[in-house]
Amino acid sequence: MRLIFKRFVAMCTVVIIATFLLSLLMRLLPGDPAAVLVPNAPDQVRDVIRQETGLSKGIFGYYWQWLSGMLTGDFGKYYLNGGYRTVASVLQRCLPPSLYLIMYSQIVALVIAIPLGLTSAYKEGSRFDRITSSVLFTTVSVPAFALGLILSLIFAVQLGWVDPIGYESPFGHPWQHFKLMILPVISLSVGLTSSYTRLLRTDVIATLKEDYVTMAASKGISNRRVLWKHVFRPSSTTLLTSAALNMGGLIGGTIIVETIFVIPGIGYEIAYSIGARQIIAMQTLIALVSFAYVFFNTAVDLLTNLTDPRTRERRG
């Protein structure tokens, strides 16, 4: 319990410092932030905006107003658009595509990585292992945007199998939804797959050398059973940890993929708010991504601490 509390406090501290620095950064923009938000408004309007956003209140007052807004569900507005769009309404629209993208990428990566990692660990040193290792090594290095563009060139432009860009809701047009998601998900999950496979392989190789595995094997339990029950289960903790940790990073990584494939997700909105200098929206969106990232980190850390005796011992 104390541990949970400690971690929670640490998490909050990190989030508060990070968001404060973020809001400080926004205030560093040269010139009048209200003029940056609405370059072509008369002063009266800018005054209204300064009041509304707390920009009139100095660094701490501004941060406090933003933070209390966040806590009460007021995420700010896009002012370039006359304040018609609230960040909350944009989030409502842009979160689902990003979440689908991240979820599919994780699923695809895990589904491929698990059998691949187990097999290559089991056959460590074999030709299969060596080939997968070097292929994975190469693919983990290929940037998502380069992969995305090249996939788009081959499958969308030249072969015309899928549309090069766009997004459809899975409820309205499920088939089109999956078709449009294929390329972005591949672009995002190739790197993930490689890193999961390599992680799992290393871990499984270590586990295979543990005494209890040797013993289980010597008891005549079938290889497959040993592999799944005695080897994969403990190793899966590492894998899931890494998968959870990747959630936050993936939100960041989707920015580029969403831009290339024109998916109206959170990454796309971040890029847009930066381009349009909508600092309030930018601050809110980036803060949310950072929060998600820290949250997953902490949660995973806690879970592994509580469940995996090995970690507990090591930490002790």
Partner: protein, 640 residues
Amino acid sequence: MPNAMNFHPVSGVTTSMADMVAFVTSIQVCIFGGNSMTQSQITRSRVMRRIGVAVAATIAITTMASTGSQAASKPNASKYGGEVKVGIFDTFPGFCVGNNPANSSLMATRTVYETLFEKTRGNDYVGLLAKSAAASADLKTWTVTLRPGIKFHNGEALDAAAMVTNWKNTSGTNYVATYLTKGAAAAGAAYAHTLGTAVPFQSNILLAAVSPTDPLAVIYTLDRPQNDFEGTLYASGRGFVRAPAQLVDKTTCSGNPIGTGPFKIVSYTTDEMIVAKNADYWRTDPKTGDKLPYLDKITFTNVKEGSQRAAAVRKGTVDAAMFSGASEGTFIQDLRKRKSVVTEYKSPAEYYPSTWLNQGKPGSPFKNIHARNAVLACVDKVTWVKARTKGEGVVSTSLVGPNSVMYTKNGFQTYDPVFAKAEVELYKQETGATSLTFTGPSDVSSTSISNAKFFQTMMAACGITYNFVIEEGAVIIGKAFNPSPTATSYYNAYDAISILLFEGTDVTFNLPFVLTNAFAPEIKNASGTVVSAASKNLTATFFRASIGSILGLNHHSDTNVDLAFYAGEAAQSAALAKAKFQEGTAVLQKNAIMGATFYFSYELFAGNKLGGIGTLSIEKGKTQRLVTNWGIDWTGVYKK
């Protein structure tokens, strides 16, 4: 630009206030060289009606041969409705008077709204919601009579009272009233919903009143004589007539478009607008008597990248897609070859991006004529057209194209690097400057940045230093047309900017941008005598003070320009008007107040399954222009 430049409407311009500058709103900025422009959503009005018909008649149909053949094929049972998808290159900023959709999103918005007048292929005006218009002898009072029996989507009737509500909201009258009674802050808060695209043009109107005898007659009283007022009301397709119910509720005005058009809104986001058939639409097909429109549903989707839009229309993912000849030549030329799949519809080359040299900004070199001469003479127009428009543009021989009533080669600066270098030296001698250096904007798109880089290289060849800042399109518009009353305000923030503002065959839209003060209360001639006085109406005075000086991006002080153009608008004969307009253009060109590099067309490519494009006439012999900067009219379109 579409691609690139794409003005995020959203972004910007929609800003609330932004719209003071209303029309500004959506201008297509083409960043240097004009290649990529943003769309103008401006209110353009140009009309040369009474006057310029003769000139105009020759122009019109550079469009497609295919149109003719389609017009010939009688609509028959084989045409039906169904759903259509259209790829555009602009976003949707909303639908209140303060939201200005850029070109291709204007096409979508115009399926919901209609204007009082439409421009025909002969470049004259024909009443759409209006039945007729008549001017007084002094051209200062215009009476517009509405067609009877037209209803808005919510059932409200279109009558003179509705038009007065529209006028009050679009002209800024409400804003001024709030300003005077409740103070600046309240006015500021109300600003977004009050000002419209038509402001700069309609603030020329002093009074609009309902005739006591005829509920369908609206009387407009103007500040100064204008022989082409229908153009002001048409506002380049932006003079929407909105239902009073939409305008009255300021909180929902932007998201709840209610018009008289053939389609009703279903939903919209920044990048998509869906409309469905208005079953009670007032028009019928004059040839067959069929009820209009044919299509059941249209989805307009913003596809920024030209290549992706081209791929989509080629593959049939969308049924039609719009392109800009300024920057999407590659895609246009590729699609043009695919006649078995798509049909090309092309506007006349009547879009004229200009290079605006700012004389009003402190620190700008362009107060000096040698600096202006040097920059304009250094632009290699032929190379620009080849390299940047892929040959889709036409090399400029005047600030506007030959179809415009303003066209004259007189004094137009041609490419002459030797002269340019000499002028650089003269500039240095006269001012003591060590170099000729100036700054302009580029938007964030790669097309626009490439243009800026190309322009930079070109300038460097003449010994001129050009720096560019990269900013979001909407930000650029905000800074160029800066209405913010702060210390640095009221002037274009850039030393030079390339933007598409000039277009078409007449001058109504172009005018406010070239005058010394777009709404000068009075104009004095060289000897100081007032040659043109205006009334002291409060709204007009207010807007003169606040936006009048913003429109003229050159901020020059040559009143000969004003005199010539106002004389043209007040002229009672087409010939005189034309002579005066050309005189104005010549002054701009001779004094190197501004320059131009090329002009271009907009294009629509439609899958061959779409019929009825450009065939529906409003009245006998009066067919709307086929493709404009805002695309085509979807009312008579059907699937074959």
